[in-house]
């Protein structure tokens, strides 16, 4: 049996037997949805519909439906793309990196964090596809034998690296998630009887692949999880590095910086953890998982937010210093314009939400409060969206010819697509919360004896 130091706080509160854990995690699937679920679901679904209409309008009329112009030819679409990809990163960090570090607190949050990753990456991948204008030709990005002059994709291009990185990231995350889900689906399968719930029994029998929990299977399960975690860890760092190279390998002042890959990865983890907190603080209440997602879990995540937030702040300042130190006039202007030009307000939102407000987590009172954490996590989500907006739009809107300087303002359709993806994301997450085992219960049962409050007090 594993032993754990006495001074560590328990990760599972209350007196929980193995059977209690099974019951608690099956409850949202077995029960009926409450009022709050339906309200949230209708809201998200409404937003999603607005998004679908906006996307259909974009495809029907062309990219001219957006607020883009000749100078600012990349704006909300790529901002939203990077924002969603970034949000996905925390899921893989929690499930893979924390597994390699043997952090037990990951076990009650990893399932939902990975769900968030998959749904987030799904939203992200919508943006490049609709930005193509002719989404039915999206297969052009893949290296397939073709009839259009046997031209191949360009393996020197960061945009193609993105195609490989994002599709690998999405499919590997999905596989990792599913391998962990199989034993938990089997738990649900065995709870439903053929007589009272034949449809659910069939559904979970299908999804659980006939899992029976043999000793050899568990041995392979643990090894496969470990190797997948080892593969997913460099993968997650590579994905956002590659996303940052979309900018860093270009020659636009403000984009052409070598600090981008680490700075984007940190920013991604920072925003991802904020989104995990936003989701979990709501979820633990809605599906009553207060015993498993405790303030200790939130505090650990807040510490990571504090660390990554401070590192992101350091990166902002390094960027300013390097632009001055480079001695390049255009580079210097790009950054002066960012901070003091017409988009100063966006820069201020970015700086205050990403660098200043997370510093409040130095106070124990704040980082161990659900209300404060929820509010600050929303701040981080907003701040990180503005970070991408600042990088993209302020670097473009005043280019080398002052006669072509312009501003960007989003159209109704731009806003619709963005809010639509938020609606789609929450729609998927709410459906997930009612049909999936939202906590990796098989793994959680292995730590009850070392980290459950009941067992800790016994000693």
């Amino acid at each position: 049996m594993q032993k754990e130091a006495e001074i560590r706080d328990p990760l599972i509160l209350g007196k929980k037997s193995y059977h209690d854990i099974t019951k608690d995690i099956a409850r949202p699937v077995e029960g009926k949805a409450n009022k709050y679920w339906w309200i949230l679901f209708s809201l998200s679904f409404g937003l999603f519909l607005w998004g679908v209409l906006s996307m259909a309008y974009t495809v029907g009329t062309g990219i001219g439906a957006w607020g883009l112009n000749k100078t600012v030819n990349w704006a909300w679409d790529i901002t939203n793309f990077v924002w969603w990809i970034g949000i996905g990163h925390a899921g893989t960090l929690i499930s893979a990196v924390l597994l390699l570090f043997r952090q037990k607190w990951r076990m009650s949050i990893n399932r939902s964090a990975e769900a968030m990753t998959i749904f987030g990456v799904l939203q992200a991948s919508l943006f490049p596809i609709i930005h193509m204008g002719r989404p039915w030709l999206a297969y052009y990005v893949f290296p397939i034998p073709n009839q259009f002059g046997s031209l191949w994709v360009n393996f020197n291009s960061p945009l193609l690296w993105d195609v490989f990185a994002i599709s690998t990231y999405f499919s590997v995350s999905l596989v990792f998630w599913y391998i962990g889900l199989i034993p938990d689906f089997a738990m649900l399968r065995d709870r439903f009887s053929e007589k009272t719930a034949p449809m659910k029994k069939k559904l979970y029998s299908f999804l659980s692949f006939g899992w029976s929990g043999k000793a050899k299977h568990w041995q392979r399960f643990e090894e496969v999880s470990l190797v997948l975690a080892g593969l997913a860890t460099p993968l997650v760092f590579s994905v956002h590095s590659i996303v940052s190279m979309d900018f860093a390998t270009s020659v636009i002042p403000g984009w052409h910086t070598t600090i981008f890959p680490p700075y984007f990865v940190l920013g991604a983890l920072f925003s991802g953890f904020a989104m995990v907190e936003t989701l979990l603080i709501i979820m633990r209440k809605v599906v009553s998982l207060e015993s498993y997602i405790t303030i200790k879990h939130i505090e650990y995540m807040n510490i990571i937010i504090l660390l990554t937030g401070s590192l992101v702040g350091t990166a902002y300042i390094t960027e300013l210093f390097m632009s001055w130190y480079s001695g390049v006039e255009f580079e210097q202007y790009a950054f002066i314009n960012r901070a003091t030009g017409p988009y100063w307000w966006a820069y201020m939102i970015m700086m205050s939400c990403n660098v200043l407000t997370p510093q409040l987590y130095w106070f124990k009172k704040i980082r161990t409060s659900f209300v404060a954490t929820f509010i600050l996590s929303i701040f981080v989500n907003i701040g990180m969206w503005f970070e991408r907006f600042v990088i993209i739009v302020t670097s473009l809107h005043r280019d080398f010819l002052p006669s072509s300087w312009s501003m960007f303002s989003p159209s109704f359709i731009d806003i619709g697509i963005y809010l639509g993806t938020i609606g789609f994301f929450f729609t998927l997450f709410l459906l997930y919360a009612r049909t999936f085992p939202v906590i990796a219960q098989a793994e959680l049962k292995t730590i009850v004896k070392s980290s459950g409050s009941e067992y800790k007090n016994k000693k």
Binding site: N154, F155, R189, S212, A215
Partner: protein, 173 residues
């Protein structure tokens, strides 16, 4: 002589583990153990061999690297070489730095997917498959030990009770 199957059911994984050790020390073969979660040390106690899943991942990763390199080499050097920003299109080796991201993704893609598929095949898991577990409670909170007995089972039953089994079921073959 008839062959019967005995199912010893346990409530706790530590009791099960010590029982497994004791029963195996008495030279009785345990056919299978079903548990709701992985039990640390059970594979050693049952005398299972180490799994080779990690080795397969390494092989699949090498395969991904090879196929990825061949793909890029064929498309960028053989079939349609292009001058892209003056990058060296005459030699794979000189152009390699630009290919690293895609090659890395190929390694991860192949290793992760093919290992997972191997895992499912080796475990006999497929969509809609049937569970082999003799008792539905083994995905909840019970641990089950399966032993095949020829002839008289009373000694083994006694041993199971003594080592902590809370319930013993017997199935005639």
């Amino acid at each position: 002589m008839s062959t019967n199957t005995l199912y010893g059911i346990f409530d706790d994984e530590e009791v099960l583990l010590s029982s497994v050790k004791e029963i195996r020390a008495n030279n009785i073969e345990i056919k299978e153990v079903y548990s709701p979660f992985p039990i640390h040390g059970l594979d050693k106690a049952l005398g299972l061999k180490e799994t080779r899943m990690a080795i397969t991942a390494f092989i699949y990763g090498c395969l991904g690297l090879t196929l990825g390199s061949l793909m890029i080499y064929y498309m960028m050097q053989i079939d349609w070489p292009q001058n892209i920003g003056g990058k060296p299109n005459w030699s794979f080796y000189h152009n390699l730095p630009a290919f690293v991201p895609v090659l890395f993704e190929c390694v991860v893609l192949f290793a992760a997917h093919l290992m997972s598929i191997t895992y499912l095949i080796r475990n006999g898991l497929y969509p809609g498959g049937k569970s082999d577990s003799p008792d539905e409670r083994t995905t909840d909170d019970k641990f089950l030990m399966e032993i095949q007995v020829e002839g008289d089972a009373t000694i083994i039953k006694e041993m199971l009770t003594k080592t902590g089994a809370t319930e013993i079921n017997e199935k005639e073959a």
